[in-house]
Symmetry: C2
């Protein structure tokens, strides 16, 4: 299975694990890379020294390629970038910011740069910035998202129509069938987030993992669009946010409701009521917690079976 | 190309044209049916006598199967049902209501019944009501929609996982590639709306058709969730609705902003400012107005090409 994405990263399968805060440390990233995908350390929830430790441990745990994901709204981003370069990381995924800011600096240091977008507009900006690949993430994706609400089924062909840069689909992909479907729509590979939250190696709290596999229809929502739009599970914290909206809260008041360290409290510390629980719509299709390697093996088997059964359509 | 859906309706291709108010009269329905798909007369915008006329003209224009779509919130629905039975229509799509209300009555009169849903919950209710097929319509679809915001990519496998009834995917499907993608996710066929708005035979106003093919990213939105959620184009009317939300309008005030005959004014009479313009996200991928038969031919060709090229994945 060789294509633009496997060749770009030097990996076996075009499956990238999403860099998720409080969830994807070195254990998950190295497990995914060892299984033939591309593992990403999610630096968004790490102090610079913590990131250094995770990179070191990941390098010891795998000799396969792995990367680091950096949300550009991270306050000390230059420190993270320095560490990444100094430690010889070869792949960086940037998100939530302008792709021009860091792309050429990283590339000059021999790093492959991928930018995550949720719209054609930012895909075009990313191509202009010279990124090596683009992740286009639909409305159904968990965590941070865009304001246009374009779903993966519409976004991928829209980006494919205008963009030559290798394209990775994200949002709503937890199975081999969804992987095949989005590749038919024009993607060269997929980025998978929620499915890897429910993995043995994810660093998220076991109560959060168990919540994810119990999630049913309509239990996630894209909210807080006035701050950074984020898809999360409906819990007490979510209800508090909605109550704030209903009383006509200002942006400042919304920030107060959000407070600090909500995501850590929920996803890492396991407070299912007061914590922020970021997850995608596709959690309704995730029914078990299993090793990352098993997730990849199952996806590839299903992908292949679905492809082989197409003659029956 | 034979499967559950082509066999159920006795048609050549598993492509159903969406029954859209002010858009799908006998001309569009018969053109689609003559081209090998299933055409639907959209009864939601027709007085009973107008529906009778459209059925009669459709019967004269095609000897292929066609159907009628009835939104159950139609006030005189019993009159429409009587006409449908009396005139020997063989296929009815019901939407926006309880599938139990009319299914057995229609089936006793020899009619195939399909119910349109936007959630697994209502898909289960539809199966329990004994419908012959289910349309599952994702968040990206134009016009009336559900409150759960589940996208097609998540909804189709969720329904497929729990339901045995033949399944038709809707929302975001305007190309043969999207048709193949949703069938890989578990659908037996597709329902296509927006693409047929931009057809020669659609009865919608030419200014609306031209607006659809010019639509860019983020220009549709699912709004009016307190009344019946509807995806529409952002125009002056939409801005008035948003302004009402921003001043904290009650449901009654929203109804006043909506007023009467907004959809007719926009889609049928061509008032691009004051009218309600219902269309799907996928309009960003529609670039030309062409005959319905050409739409079907192009979709099937692209579907086949995409299927044949999968060996390269």
């Amino acid at each position: 299975m060789q294509n633009k994405i496997t060749q770009l990263f030097g990996i076996q399968y075009p499956i990238v694990q999403g860099g998720m805060i409080w969830t994807s440390g070195w254990r998950l990233a190295s497990a995914v890379s060892n299984a033939g995908g591309l593992g990403l350390i999610g630096a968004g929830s790490m102090y610079p020294e913590v990131l250094r430790e995770h990179i070191l441990k990941c390098q010891k745990a795998t000799d396969k390629p792995f990367g680091v994901n950096i949300p550009m709204l991270y306050p000390d981003i230059d420190k993270l970038i320095d560490i990444i370069i100094a430690m010889g990381v070869k792949i960086v995924f940037t998100s939530a910011g302008n792709p021009k800011t860091w792309t050429s600096h990283l590339q000059k240091n021999g790093i492959i740069v991928v930018h995550v977008v949720s719209s054609l507009k930012f895909a075009l900006k990313s191509q202009e910035a010279g990124v090596d690949a683009i992740v286009a993430e639909g409305f159904e994706a968990g965590g941070h998202n865009g304001r246009d609400e374009t779903t993966t089924l519409t976004l991928i062909p829209s980006v494919k129509e205008k963009i030559k840069t290798p394209l990775i689909a994200a949002g709503g992909i937890a199975t081999g069938r969804a992987m095949l479907a989005t590749m038919i729509l024009g993607a060269d590979g997929v980025q998978v987030g929620s499915r890897f939250v429910a993995s043995d190696e994810a660093s998220s709290h076991h109560l959060f993992k168990e919540k994810v596999i119990e999630t049913t229809e309509g239990e996630t929502h894209l909210t807080l669009k006035e701050l950074v739009p984020v898809r999360l599970l409906k819990n007490k914290f979510y209800n508090d946010v909605q109550a704030a909206y209903n009383r006509g809260a200002t942006v400042e008041e919304l920030k107060q409701v959000l407070g600090r360290a909500r995501a850590k409290r929920g996803m890492f510390e396991g407070d299912m009521d007061e914590g922020e629980l970021e997850i995608g719509q596709v959690s309704t299709l995730i029914h078990d917690i299993k090793p990352a390697a098993q997730i990849i093996e199952d996806m590839i088997r299903e992908f292949t079976e679905a492809k082989d059964s197409l003659d029956q359509l």
